[in-house]
Amino acid sequence: MSNGHFGKYGGRYLPEMLIPTLEQLEKTYESAKKDQKFQKEFNNLLKNFAGRPTPLVFAQNLTEKLGGAKIYLKNEGLNHTGAHKITHCIGQALIAKRMGKTRLIAETGAGQHGVATATVAAKFGFSCTIYMGAVDIARQRPNVFLMEQLGAKVVPVLTGSQTLKDAVNAALKDLIENVNDTHYVIGSVLGPHPYPTMNRDFQKIVGQEIKKQTKEFENKLPDYVIACVGGGSNAMGAFYNFLNKKSVQLIGVEAGGKGKKIGDHAVRFSGGSVGVVEGYKSYFLQDSDGQLQKTHSISAGLDYPGIGPELAFLHDKKRVEFVSVSDQETLQAVKTLAHLEGIIPALESAHAVAHAIKLAPKLSKEKIIVVNLSGRGDKDLFILAEAFKDKSFYKFLEDFVKI
């Protein structure tokens, strides 16, 4: 790999004015990677601030009900702030400190990455600005409130589709204008080099833990690791450690949304094509002129037209298989996991659960599936209440406003 390329994907397709700051980031990251003190501080924060290691939970009831492969859940939802995102935010905050930056900016879709960034900004004493599409602000108000409580300024993005991709553009523009004091905390394994590599390296601890914990329970490697894929940070984290273990099948689950029509889903591999957007080359949902298309998913975290370049490479190499599940299957998976296992997963992670539910009955009882449960579902309260048509929840909201 050179210059951040994964085969033909990745790279650094940026205006010249951003190159020096990314070269500085790359150099700083390369030196930190080799610095034991840095690694020690990072691991210490993961343990004593974020709450690692997260447990691997045997989903006994679900396994028995489906009657096939054994299902384990890697419960990343037990991380501080509720998802795996905090891991690369801690890593990047330490890198930003090393570069002498005083301000963090980030894009956010559902608000999870924004909350995680605002959290590390508060902890390490950075000022913080979060860009969020106006459409996302309207559907994720609770996270906006949380970010503001953590001291961040949340800026609504009113351009384009007013969602995640537009927030990325707005944050890149902020970075262009404030390169001297600002570090842009990109929230996934995408964007220009070195972000895809750096965030993957921070997240790979997930796969290392899965390997160790599966060994403790079963004394062998898992046969399948399944993760949902928006940009791909939780998937790359879970997969990376198994890439050279041929017996482990890796499955990425994309958002099938409401259907196959353009604008109704976020399935990049079957619906998209190769392009160069937001500084990197990968698969994008775009029209024949290269204009990015609208996407939809019930989970804001998967509602994005691009995908991490290393995943594009692994797709072409057929090392990672990609499938998609619909909004409806996802909602059903939330219900099933809540009833049978006492875990309400984030809607993003529920995509991975939904695929495991389809796969497990087709496999023999000796096979082991690990589902990466990237986040917990608390944040989806309002979306779930709406999807499940919970009238008393709406009554509560109405009454609450009146008080």
């Binding site: 397709y13 010249e16 190159i19 020096p20 991709k165 262009i176 392009g275 290269g290």
Partner: protein
């Protein structure tokens, strides 16, 4: 000092773009940048972003851009340049894009996010060279001498220097380091220097005239268009350019 102006193709409409370009030529500009609208224009500020968005909403396609270039280049003698983001070029096919741009009569291409570090992957400069099309490199105040040297190796036509570290848009004052940066660019490049980003006034032109060769005005003219009704767009654009070229303001 020469003047380069800028339009977003299809804004406010394809017919208007054509008229505006003709008006610019008649008003005495020396070259014109025709921007192909893109859904995610990374280096552009709100004015040009909004123009791109409106143009795409009206249904502007790449083939419209090529048709317009062809039509205008047949009757207009000054250089007409395509400005686009790299995905537009890549998705069309880099080689094919360069060939068709040349056939349509373009003088060159300005592709700010096609970075020289990716040439091994893209063969973009090779394609420009093959079809005798100028690839105009964009450099910025943040460019180190090393980066300037690297970009100068593929210089062609002229070099575009962004007057401030930021995105496109109107600014009142020029950056205090502008002159020293222009000297650095001059030292490294042998082609003429164009200066854009935040250039909107006669006094800006006067300040940079001794150190640069071409002034670029983009957002300021789109602001004029936005202020105009359909009937007086051309008149307002003409007056704005005349003011810049001949009067102090």
């Amino acid at each position: 000092m020469k003047l380069m102006t800028h339009v977003v193709i299809g804004y406010p409409s394809l017919e208007e773009t054509e008229k505006i370009v003709r008006t610019m030529v008649k008003s005495g500009v020396d070259m014109i940048e025709l921007q192909i609208p893109f859904s995610d224009p990374l280096a552009d500020g709100p004015t040009i972003m909004n123009a791109c968005e409106k143009s795409l909403q009206r249904g502007t396609k790449i083939k419209d851009a090529f048709l317009l270039m062809k039509k205008l280049s047949l009757e207009i003698k000054i250089p007409l340049i395509f400005m686009a983001y790299y995905n537009t070029v890549f998705k069309y096919g880099t080689k094919k894009f360069c060939r068709d741009a040349k056939v349509a009569g373009a003088y060159g291409l300005i592709i700010p996010d096609m970075n020289i570090d990716e040439e091994n992957q893209e063969h973009f400069y090779v394609s420009c060279k093959k079809y005798n099309l100028n690839n105009i490199q964009v450099v910025s105040p943040a460019s180190t001498d090393e980066r300037l040297r690297k970009n100068a190796k593929v210089e062609s036509g002229f070099v575009y220097f962004t007057a401030h570290q930021g995105i496109t848009g109107v600014k009142d004052k020029l950056s205090p380091n502008l002159i020293s940066n222009l000297r650095r660019v001059r030292k490294n490049f042998s082609v003429p220097i164009a200066v854009g980003f935040g250039i909107s006034k006669r006094k800006h032109l006067e300040a940079i005239a001794p150190y640069a060769d071409i002034a670029v005005i983009g957002s300021a003219i789109i602001n004029e268009i936005n202020k105009s009704s359909t009937e007086n767009i051309e008149q307002n654009v003409r007056n704005f350019i005349k003011n810049i070229l001949f009067h102090n303001n």
